[in-house]
C-alpha cells in the first residue's frame, strides 16, 4: 500500500519536474517557489570513518546536507529529531536495518543516504549508498576515491548524482564562483567553490582586474585588466596554467564582457568612440561589430539563452535603465521604467527573468527581477547596503552577488525568490564581482 502511494508521489514529482523542464521561455514562475513543486524528503544517516568521533564523516555529511538543501530538489529531514539514527556499525550497504528504513518511511522520508570512509594507501575511499522507499531497496552505491583534500568534492559529487537521479537535471554542487578581492590597492581574480570554500588566487599583478566571466568549458576567465595606462584591456586567462591572451585592446575602457550562449561571440562595452558603446567580437575570426550608436553610455550586455537578444544598461533616457535589443543591434526597446537607477542586467539561463540592480525609493541598491516582456517585476533583496554584480547559477534557481549590507563588500548567494540568503565569504577583505561558473 505504501508502495502504491509512493508510486503516485514519484510520478507527481517526475511530472512536475518535466513541467519545469519543458515550459521554457513561457514559464514565468520562479522555480524556487513553484507552488506545485514538491521537494523530495531525504535523510542523511551519516558517514562512518572508523574512528570514535567520525570527524571526516561528519564533515562529509554536513557538506552533503548543505548541497541537498541548496539544490532545492530535496528537503533534508532532521533524522535525530525524528529519532532515526544509525544502530551499530554502519560500514556498508547492508548495514542499515529494515527497522530504520521502515521508521523513515513512516515519517514520510522516502530517500535515505549514508556512507563510509576508508583509507587505501594515500587515498581516501568514500562509499555512498542510496535507499529508496519507492523500491524498498538500496538502489545505488557509489565509490569515490581521492586524496583527503578532495573530501568536500566527493560529497559535492554525491549530491550532484542524487540531484540528477531524481530530476534528470545536473546539480550545481561542483560549480565554482570567480570573484575579485581587494588586496591593498589592487583587485585580483580568485576562484572558489560555490559554497565559498577553497578560494584560490588567479591573478597577482598589482593592478585592477575586474568583472571576471567564465568560458563555457570553465577553462578560461575573461575580465578587464588595468595593466596599461591608456586603455583597459579585456584579457582572457587559462585557469589551470595562468596563460593570458588579450581579446580587446581598443583605446579607452573595455569592460563588461559577456560570451554568447554558443561561445561564438563576445559582447562588451568600449569607449573607443568617445562614449561607452556595445560591440561584439566574433571569437573565431576576431571581427568586431558595433551594436549601439548613441551619445549616452551603453554597457553591461547580457545574452538571452537563445542568443537572439541582448539586454544592456543605458543612460540614454537620463539615469541608467535596462534595454533590450536584437543581437544585431536592431529593435532597441526600454525594459525598466520603475525607479531612476536600474543597471547590471543578467539574463537567467532559463530565459524567463532578467536580474539587475535596482535603486529603491529608500535609495538602496538591491536586486530586482523583471520578465523579458516587462510584465512582471519583483525585488528580491532588501535592507541596507549596495547589492551589485548579480550572476545566475547555471540551474537558474540561485543568484550570487556582492553586497555591502554588513559593511565591507562580501559575496552572497540567494534563491531566485529572495529566500535563503547566505554569505559565502568572510574576513576583513572586500570581495566583489562574483561570477557563477557553468556546470
Amino acid at each position: 500500500m505504501v508502495r502504491v502511494v509512493l508510486l503516485a508521489v514519484y510520478l507527481a514529482v517526475v511530472a512536475g519536474l518535466a513541467g519545469i523542464l519543458e515550459t521554457g521561455a513561457e514559464d514565468v514562475y520562479m522555480e524556487a517557489t513553484r507552488p506545485d513543486f514538491q521537494k523530495i524528503p531525504i535523510g542523511v544517516l551519516g558517514f562512518r570513518d572508523g574512528g570514535e568521533q567520525d570527524p571526516t564523516g561528519e564533515r562529509a555529511a554536513d557538506v552533503l546536507k548543505a548541497d541537498l538543501r541548496r539544490s532545492l530538489v530535496f528537503s533534508v529531514a532532521d533524522l535525530l529529531k525524528l529519532g532515526i539514527r544509525l544502530n551499530g556499525k554502519l560500514d556498508g550497504k547492508e548495514s542499515v536495518d529494515k527497522k530504520t528504513f521502515q521508521s523513515a518511511l513512516e515519517q514520510g522520508i522516502s530517500v535515505l543516504v549514508w556512507g563510509k570512509f576508508a583509507a587505501r594507501e594515500a587515498d581516501l575511499l568514500m562509499d555512498g549508498f542510496v535507499y529508496d522507499g519507492g523500491t524498498g531497496d538500496v538502489v545505488a552505491d557509489r565509490r569515490y576515491i581521492g586524496t583527503a583534500s578532495v573530501l568536500r568534492q566527493m560529497a559535492h559529487r554525491f549530491a550532484d548524482e542524487l540531484v540528477f537521479r531524481y530530476t534528470g537535471e545536473q546539480g550545481i554542487a561542483r560549480t565554482k564562483i570567480a570573484f575579485v578581492s581587494e588586496l591593498n590597492n589592487s583587485r585580483e581574480v580568485f576562484i572558489m567553490d560555490y559554497d565559498g570554500y577553497g578560494a584560490r588566487q588567479l591573478t597577482a599583478d598589482g593592478h585592477l582586474n575586474l568583472m571576471p566571466r567564465w568560458s563555457w568549458d570553465r577553462r578560461y576567465l575573461i575580465f578587464t585588466s588595468y595593466r596599461a595606462r591608456t586603455r583597459q584591456f579585456i584579457d582572457m586567462i587559462e585557469v589551470a596554467t595562468g596563460k593570458r591572451w588579450t581579446l580587446v585592446s581598443f583605446t579607452g575602457l573595455n569592460i563588461t564582457p559577456a560570451l554568447s550562449p554558443d561561445g561564438n561571440h563576445l559582447a562588451f562595452a568600449t569607449s573607443q568612440d568617445g562614449n561607452s558603446e556595445i560591440y561584439k567580437m566574433d571569437t573565431n575570426t576576431k571581427a568586431f561589430q558595433r551594436l549601439t550608436f548613441h551619445q549616452a553610455g551603453d554597457l553591461s550586455p547580457t545574452w538571452s539563452p537563445t542568443g537572439r537578444e541582448i539586454a544592456f544598461t543605458s543612460d540614454r533616457g537620463g539615469g541608467p535603465q535596462i534595454y533590450v535589443m536584437s543581437a544585431d543591434g536592431s529593435n532597441i526597446r526600454r525594459l525598466t521604467f520603475e525607479g531612476d537607477y536600474n543597471a547590471a542586467p543578467v539574463w537567467s539561463p532559463r530565459g524567463n527573468w532578467i536580474a539587475y540592480v535596482c535603486r529603491t525609493p529608500e535609495h538602496q541598491f538591491k536586486l530586482c527581477l523583471i520578465s523579458p516582456d516587462g510584465q512582471k517585476r519583483v525585488r528580491i533583496t532588501s535592507g541596507p547596503g549596495v547589492d551589485d554584480s548579480p550572476s545566475w547559477s547555471p540551474d537558474g534557481r540561485h543568484l550570487v552577488f556582492s553586497s555591502t549590507a554588513e559593511g565591507k563588500s562580501h559575496i552572497y548567494i540567494v534563491n531566485s525568490d529572495g529566500t535563503e540568503l547566505e554569505r559565502i565569504t568572510s574576513g576583513g577583505v572586500a570581495h566583489t564581482s562574483p561570477s557563477w561558473s557553468p556546470i
Binding site: L6, E22, E161, A240, W245, L299, Y341, R359, P394, D395
Partner: protein, 262 residues
Amino acid sequence: MRTRYPATALAALLGVLILLGAGCGKSIQANSGSKSYEPGARRDVTTASMRTTSPTGGAMSSGSRQLEAGRQPDMMARSGDTGSEAGIEPLSSSAPMPSLSSIDTAGPGVSGKRSDEQRVPGELLVAKSEPADTSRRRVEEMQREQIATAAAGLEDVFFTFDSWQITNEGKQTLMLDAEWMKANPARAVTIEGHCDERGTLAYNLVLGEKRAKAVQTYLMELGVSTRQVGVVSYGKERPFCKEHDESCYQKNRRGHLVLRGE
C-alpha cells in the same frame, strides 16, 4: 541543460524504472553508460575540440608577439614610442588562441549499481599568474607619479551625485590647473575619474570616465594641449575615503589630476 527534452524523458524513464523495482538496476546502468560524467572524459572532449580548432587559433596568433605570461617576461618588450608606458601591448600567449565555442558536454552519471570507482580529481588546478615585468614597472611608475603629483600642487575637481557636470567651483580650480599646464608644456597629466560607493561597479566605471572626459574637455577649452591630457576611470574602485557617509562620498566623486613622469 540545453537539451531539455531528453533529460526530461530520462528522468521520467528513471522514475518508472525505479518503481518497477527488481531488475531495474541493470537498465539504469545501461542508460547511465552513455551519460557517464567523468571530468576526465569531459576534458577529452574539450581537448579533441581544441585540437580541431587549433589551425585557426594558430593562424590568429602567428602575427603577434608571443608571450607566455609570467614565464618568459623577457620576450615582452616595452612599447615603442613612450618608454614609460609599460605593459601596453596586448598579450598573446605562446599557446594558440583557444576556441570559446560552447561544447556540448556529456551529462553527469546516473547513480545506478556501482560499476566502477570514480576518482575525484585533485581540485580544479589554479595557477597563480605572476605579474609580467611590464606590470611591475607600471605599478612602480604609478607610485612615482603620486609623489610627483603631490609636489606639483595640481588641484582636483569634485562632482555631485551621478553627475559629470563641472561645477563653478571646479571651473575655478581647473583655471589654475590650466595655467600650470600651459606654463609646463612638456608635462602631461592623467585625469582619473572617480565615483562614490553607491551604484554598480560597471556603471560607475562609465560615469567616472564621463567625469574624466569632462575635465579633459574643459582643460582643452582653456587652451591646454591635447597631448598633455589623458583620461582613465577608476569608477568606485580606488576611493580616497572609505567611510559610508556623504562627506566621504563627496571626496570620492572627483576628477583627480595625476602628473605623469618626465
